[in-house]
Symmetry: C2
Subunit: 231 residues, 2 copies
DNA sequence: AGCCTTGTATGATATATATCACATATACGA
DNA sequence: TCGTATATGTGATATATATCATACAAGGCT
């Protein structure tokens, strides 16, 4: 791949990702020089919980899930990230390790930028540092809400939450091809895959939401939001 | 209160709080000038979720809980903080609002430092900024573990977790006067106060942990840790 | 085309935990 | 000292959700 092409793919990320927008032309040059692309198939681990953060991951295309792993226990799916996102992590300025795994959930291109460069940019570019920390804060606040949802809501409410999250934050349409299977929906909603099936059936029977194989359709957004608030 | 006395109370905080240690003498002077103390009785709100972060709170004496509030739902007790801690918050560089409430759980002296000063220190003192962000990251990682504990463990495991947290992080002794009532233990462990009573009775019957009124005694640390890992 | 694996659905049952009702203790003010 | 409020304990029952067993469907491979 020549420089021009690289410039092209990166320019997309720069446009969509507020973190990159804080960088000067020279700084971006430097990032170009210390980055590399890799393409992952669905289900492949992009970064493993516990491993050192040698490079920071930026999603170029595809989708990835952030999961909390615990030996002998089911995974906890924290969130789904879409392009173009620089995946910040709270361990970056502590133990320099990943505290969750990043796993692709469809064909995904990830860009790896050397952490050394990121640290240098941190020292030099105050605005970049600020946005970086803001991003970590955002994920923290997101987590507070995940906590609330999982603790306070019943199964239907939690599934409604998942669907609304995917609709609003990821796919943006009432109709979408879902990239999470039933088990992953379960891991996001803190329930079993069997219960996911049952709740999905209820939602379909009531004409609120239809998930047939991987084709999702929100039939009644108002009721879905009501169920998410619920009861 | 004269300058000498103020200097004395503050010097304690400076010794115990890594955040303050990053400041120069001049910077500390400036903090002194833009701070004020208030004493809170047990149960009083030190900072309210949703309100603007005009001042950053540093606990001087006493204990406080950080709680997630949700209208019409029970509170979620995120953690307990002890002196001397500068209570950082993920909203500080986002919407500048508290995303949890800070509530005293015993007679507590809190020191309020103007956020304007904190922001200035941020620009000038890189090390201070670094430690600040580290602290936010630490709370984030703590939250991941809270997530795991609440999702993966049964009631006994969750109560054992609470006790071990209080023992290791807060009181440091096998014997301690607990400042959380049964409801607060329930809010920390995601269960009802009735269930807390029942589990505490079991732990007492098995000679593992005794909580009589507010006097807590860990009788068998090994078994308690085993229950926390559990099963 | 048939076979095997993997994902999904669904019913019967088990189980953890909440809820409700009440009892007891402890603190607190008149 | 009493009476009232508040925190805690305990039992009986209800309920949400998991588990287990099995069936069905859809792809991929030979």
């Amino acid at each position: 791949m020549n420089d021009l092409q690289e410039g092209f793919t990166c320019s997309e990320c720069i446009e969509k990702c507020s973190l990159f927008k804080a960088l000067t032309k020279d700084e971006l040059e430097e990032v170009y020089e210390h980055r590399y692309d890799t393409t992952f198939r669905s289900g492949e681990v992009i970064a493993k919980q516990g491993s050192p953060i040698s490079h920071i991951v930026s999603l170029s295309t595809g989708l990835a899930k952030l999961v909390l792993e615990t030996p002998g226990k089911p995974d906890i799916l924290l969130t789904v990230v879409k392009p173009t996102t620089l995946i910040t992590s709270p361990g970056m300025f502590l133990d320099n390790r990943y505290h969750f795994s990043i796993v692709s959930i469809k064909e995904t291109k990830a860009c790896f930028i050397s952490m050394t460069i990121i640290r240098q940019l941190f020292e030099r570019n105050h605005e970049f540092a600020k946005r970086f920390h803001r991003s970590i804060g955002e994920r923290s606040i997101m987590l507070y809400n995940r906590f609330r949802n999982i603790i306070h809501k019943n199964m239907a409410g939690r599934i409604a939450d998942s669907i609304l999250f995917l609709h609003k934050e990821i796919y943006g349409e009432l109709n979408f091809k879902i990239d999470l299977n039933r088990s992953e929906l379960a891991e996001y909603s803190n329930m079993t895959k069997e219960s996911v099936s049952r709740i999905l059936k209820e939602l379909k029977d009531e004409g609120i939401f239809d998930l047939t194989s991987d084709h999702a359709t929100i039939l009644n957004l108002d009721r879905l939001e009501q169920i998410a608030k619920n009861g």
